[in-house]
Symmetry: D2
């Protein structure tokens, strides 16, 4: 999980990139990087940490130019190394290129080995470097052709923004796993992982970057091309369950509406007679609202979130995750004391967070704590960019729902069905990537 | 508005202070400071900006010691100068003292002048320096006596934590304007502006620091004394309306419950026949929940808040406030499009934010936007620590509700009554300070 | 030992102060501070470390204004605390004052105690705070009168620059212990510890600030006044021996010429039949040149100094001093191998440095190492601003020259006589402060 | 011009690398980088600026490991970009490699183009990347063979240190343009640009890394191999004239002795009847000593250098150079007033510095200023790593000695002869690279 943005404008873009990247911060808090082309060269700043810490006003001034790209990085398997912070950069056809990607290649390792055998030297452990090297290798003056040749070789999930000379280039894998949208602000063109990045800088989303689409954006406009393949769109359903902002409308489905509907459907599938419906903030809020309204049970915020720190799921180590849980959510005694409650959350991964929350809610006086989850059990690892742990650490891969219920100490536990989930988005299950729930991998993660 | 914390422990306190200060971050984002006594001397670190930026792990290591205090500062009239960052520090009776305060003295200027006439030199423009200098002047080996003499002289609002030799000292003005609570974590004792700071480090709030109370906390326990006066407690009602966290239970009233009730009462006082009740996050959420439930109208989050930036009301300049509004809240088109909505917010100060939000909601497709405010019109300046602007900038001091309604472009506008507000806290109006609404100043701000 | 500078100009002074402070860096490397008056208020930046590290271009931009002062601090007995970094600052008669001093008050402790008894609170452990508080206390609209009253009370060494409203104020103790010069650059007026600070910014030294003189410098010119006393000038002779730059002409004596003459006189007093005269860089260079020329023996640099680190004598701890010796000076094998040499150094304080150097020169192949010192044995502590250690750590206070010779492992050792030293400056011994050599303290350091 | 160091030890090396790099700081002040192998991976820190600023104690702690390399970079033609800071890093045969070089490849451009044609992507504009990529490409499990193949292809000057798995690898071009020495500290092995880096950490230089030699250093010892070629050693003579420290003994010639002899020879070739011999510090000091002793004229330091800033020749822009001249050297009026002097300097490149100094010495009262230069006129650009400007900016490429004399305003001007210079090192002219003086380029800079 990462966030990407690219802007082609008539005026300086570094401040707009900064705000856009801030609005994508929920997609990655480990590192942030920006590259801007000033007419002569590409300047880049990269740093571990939040966007707001990585970029001072002074640093933004040192990145002048009217086209640029940005990236926020989630902690991933490739490791927390400085050299992995995107955009990556290099020289192609005598000019500079900068490139950043959201997603994950399933055939990264084998492509890297082949390129190394051919004499390439890798400088990072990020799969984005493979994309960059392949484009360079195939480049012969025509960037779209080079990208098409690259897309023929790489397999997996990628929403890529790049700076190539005076152009912003964007392309998305044929399955469209990761979100990617296009917008305008007057003459300025913006591509980004989510529409919030477009809206925050005053623009409007116009459409999706389609699965398999290749865009070249410069002063003359937006040039669209396609990588032809037999793949059909399989948007990651977990974006709607958890990752995207509530205001995201990705591939024509709004995340908030999706989540509220999940709550309603979950009430139908697994009702619960309690005093209060309580969300795990922030991702459980819309579904708790939906559940409460469908049920006619009062909705109440029984957990207070500290607004000045990061997000639970995003921290790299188990220990940090536990610290974060303890730090960020504080039960609201006055609301939960003496009440039977149903707690709405988006997913159960390891079970640690749920167990911890339920215990703390009971300590705060909750009489009963039932748990309703707006996604099916996560029983398979993701190979397309979401940092789900190894299967052996996925509680649902190893325990029955009954066992999980006992394990986390809930009075009752229910997950939404996969069909229910798909229905929330008004698409068929087959139109999503649901691999983490059912192991149906659109791109084979084990072979190439 | 500021936040204070003090910890007396058997083990190192800098990390606990750090987390406690983080949980008070909503009370002040302009600057942060910490002072820790290591058995020989007090070490201090102060910095402009958020707690998380001001204190690295390395800086915390450089502040060893088992007792310490911390402060987060809101931008106030005394100006954004480095030298004003608290805790202030000095030498008293051959030992070091560090002191930090939440509140504002109404007779600061005249006390300062008197002290200057007597030859004192001020090094800051913070009223906290007057408190520090008076204690020093009155100190004769007995810190409690020095504080009592100081409290006889200073007028206004103050919740003070100090380090004096090996003790944490805490005292609160006779009206108890600003919140102040006491808690324990095993043998450790914590005082803080809000209970979240106690709970986050694993402790439990035990009671309030009472109005007029003086606490001396050291290895031998908690020693309580009182400054005798005829003043009665007048807790700032705006803490419940806006400032305190939802999980704060201050002077026996929980903020979340208070706010939810405000919504219910507001529905009774000013009903509104709409499709959806929408909160202005975060402070409007509990009252919108209450309003919706009382009304039987669906509740929905129509504005998405960016979780990675600060809070609207806290920024110092008008221009920054407008930027912040535009940046932080994004209308959720899918939720509001074609709907008539009622927007719940905690207060209208200048009117700019409301006008902006209403316009953006209409742009996003809302058919009707009604506004309900969970506080009466703010028509008077606060002299007790809340940074309300000069009366000439308070929209409610200059316009009728009708005029404001037009000004902000609402389809209808209503404020809760003062009696309704007081009722939400189950106290009488006379038990609160309500000066910002009715001009009834418990301490005369113009004389001394 | 510290360095001070003050500039009154028609244009911005922060950059000039920066360069001037850099040229005084040899007088103090522990911390640096600058205060500039912008017509409305005084802004200040202070930091531990070198001038070049403390002030970035951005920080200089944030200190606009046409009058300002600067200070570089040597590590002194008052301790390495942030709060001691000068200039100190405060409010006097409703306006801001900033003040910085080079020197040391012998009656600091008793004055501080008296002021504390009267209710003053100290915020530092620097004696400069006493000066600042006394001026504030005596101030009644006439700054010169306030300074005169202050000078009546304080005893010891001080060369002070201050910003008072729109004026640079400078005054020097009646003995003129520490250097202080005055210069011009067109209409700009500069006061500084040494003339290099004037010359580096393009100006010219015009005269000394006289012992007991008080200068008020503003747009209308330089106003001179005097504090009347019976004291006679007793300039610190150690400034010429060690501290001042070679290009310093302080109280009409040039440091380089003084040092070269010391070498000549030392040859007359203690000749030595060797192959080569080698200086301990940098302070031993001029005297080695003088010694070599008087003797007709070749001069050669047998020790290479690393130009990118600080100065030996200036580091605060014994361990750091030893590290510094090992790091900074590297024997030049090719020059010293097989040679008998005489090593010229300015002083022997603890003996550690000399012992170390002699050993390393022998390891590098020197056949004989004789030592000649251009100051008499340092046998008494300084109370006027030079950080000589306690007498028990002064090797010459505890050992005979014979014993020191053996202790440091020299083939022979000789010190210049006090009369010889005075002669180098063409003044009488009684015209200098020579307390560190003979215990003749112009101001009684034990009483007041 | 750069400085390199590599250490293979039994204990942590980051602190030793830090001190060693400090002792090489004169070879490059623009940027500094360090890479350390911790047994599992190579960690790297790179930063613009001085070593002392780039590495804090904390950063050194974050670079644990017993083998490592360091690099200090001089501002060169490749541009002041972050991405060019060495060591460069990559993955070779599944392991990490880090590599740093002092020197310059004359066929960098053509090699880069060829590699790009083959599909390689460059990420820097540093010629060191070509070396790194070629080694990777040729690597087949045997690092020495890969280096030999690389050396067959690259042409120019290079002294390279690299980390390859658990080994320090070092190799030097067949002409040995840039210096490179080897030393020991007990079992630890150190390679470095100059012996000072070995001595500062307590070790001893044992021999040179020979021209064309390849060293592999690991726990089992030092393994030497050779790249066979017909090239003969042509050490850069300008290292002795200017760059190396006085204590450097490079390819068996000590820099201080070389420089002193230059002064003696220059006296023979161009005597001058004056009152005083004055060096331009620091590089003119040994030759001024030699000149003075040969002439029997007094030697005196007439220019004071500020010890707390960098070195004249090293700053990248003309404007900065002029600032630096003005800032760093202050004439010593007392020494030069009324005197006829001869000024000894190492070289005249643009003439600006000399003109400036002569003017300032006359302003300070010097009656006559003669100039003697310890190198022949610099009339040709260097292509082997010294940042001499383009020929059109070399004053000696465009003016006769007579014209230069007038241009800089000297009473007389003389340069040492090339034969005289070579004699100072007791080698034949043909054993040096003297291209910058006579255009005799050992490696053709225009072809390949």
């Amino acid at each position: 999980m990462c966030g990407v943005i690219g802007i082609c404008s008539k005026s300086n873009v570094s401040t707009s990139l900064f705000y856009g990247m801030n609005s994508l911060q929920h997609r990655g808090q480990e590192a942030a990087g920006m590259a801007v082309y000033d007419g002569e060269e590409i300047r880049r700043t990269r740093s571990m940490g939040l966007v707001i810490d990585a970029f001072t006003e002074e640093k933004l001034r040192e990145l002048p130019g009217t086209i640029g790209i940005g990236h926020v990085r989630y902690a991933t398997a490739s490791g927390s190394h400085d050299y992995n912070i995107q955009p990556l950069m290099g020289f192609i056809g005598g000019e500079m290129i900068a490139l950043a990607s959201d997603g994950n290649l399933v055939n990264y390792q084998i492509l890297r080995e082949r390129l190394e055998e051919e004499g390439m030297m890798f400088q990072t452990t990020s799969d984005t470097e493979v994309i960059l090297y392949l484009i360079t290798r195939y480049y012969d003056g025509d960037i779209v052709e080079a990208i098409k040749k690259t897309m023929k070789v790489i397999r997996g999930a990628y929403s890529v923004t790049a700076l190539v000379k005076d152009k912003v280039v964007a392309f998305r894998d044929p399955h469209g796993f990761r979100p990617f949208v296009l917008g305008r602000d007057g003459d300025d063109v913006i591509v980004a992982s989510e529409n919030a990045a477009i809206e925050i800088i005053g623009g409007e989303m116009t459409r999706n970057v389609e699965a398999g689409e290749i865009l070249v954006i410069d002063g003359t406009g937006i040039h669209s091309d396609r990588f032809e393949s037999e793949a059909t769109a399989r948007n990651c359903i977990f974006e709607y369950v958890y990752f995207a902002r509530n205001d995201a409308t990705l591939d024509d489905i709004n995340a908030y509406t999706f989540r509220r509907r999940c709550g309603e459907i979950l009430w139908e599938e697994a009702p619960c007679d309690v005093d209060l419906v309580v969300p795990v903030p922030d991702s459980g809020i819309p579904s708790a609202i939906g559940y409460a309204q469908a049920a006619g049970i009062p909705y109440g915020e029984g957990l207070v979130k500290n607004r000045y720190m990061g997000r639970t799921f995003i921290k790299p180590t188990q220990k940090e995750r536990e610290m974060a849980v303890k730090l960020k959510l504080n039960p609201l005694v006055d609301v939960v004391k003496g009440k039977s409650i149903v707690l709405l959350d988006d997913s159960i991964v390891r079970g640690t967070t749920s167990r911890n929350l339920i215990k703390r809610l009971r300590d705060a006086g909750a009489r009963e704590v039932h748990m309703r989850i707006t996604s099916p059990p996560v029983a398979y690892s993701c190979y397309y960019g979401i940092d789900t742990p190894n299967r052996k650490n996925l509680i649902a891969a190893n325990q029955s729902i009954q066992e999980i219920e006992e394990n986390i100490g809930a009075d009752s536990l229910a997950f939404i069905s996969l069909e229910g989930l798909a229905k929330a988005g008004k698409k068929d299950v087959s139109e999503y990537c649901t691999a983490c729930f059912d192991g149906d991998y659109p791109v084979d993660p084990t072979l190439i």
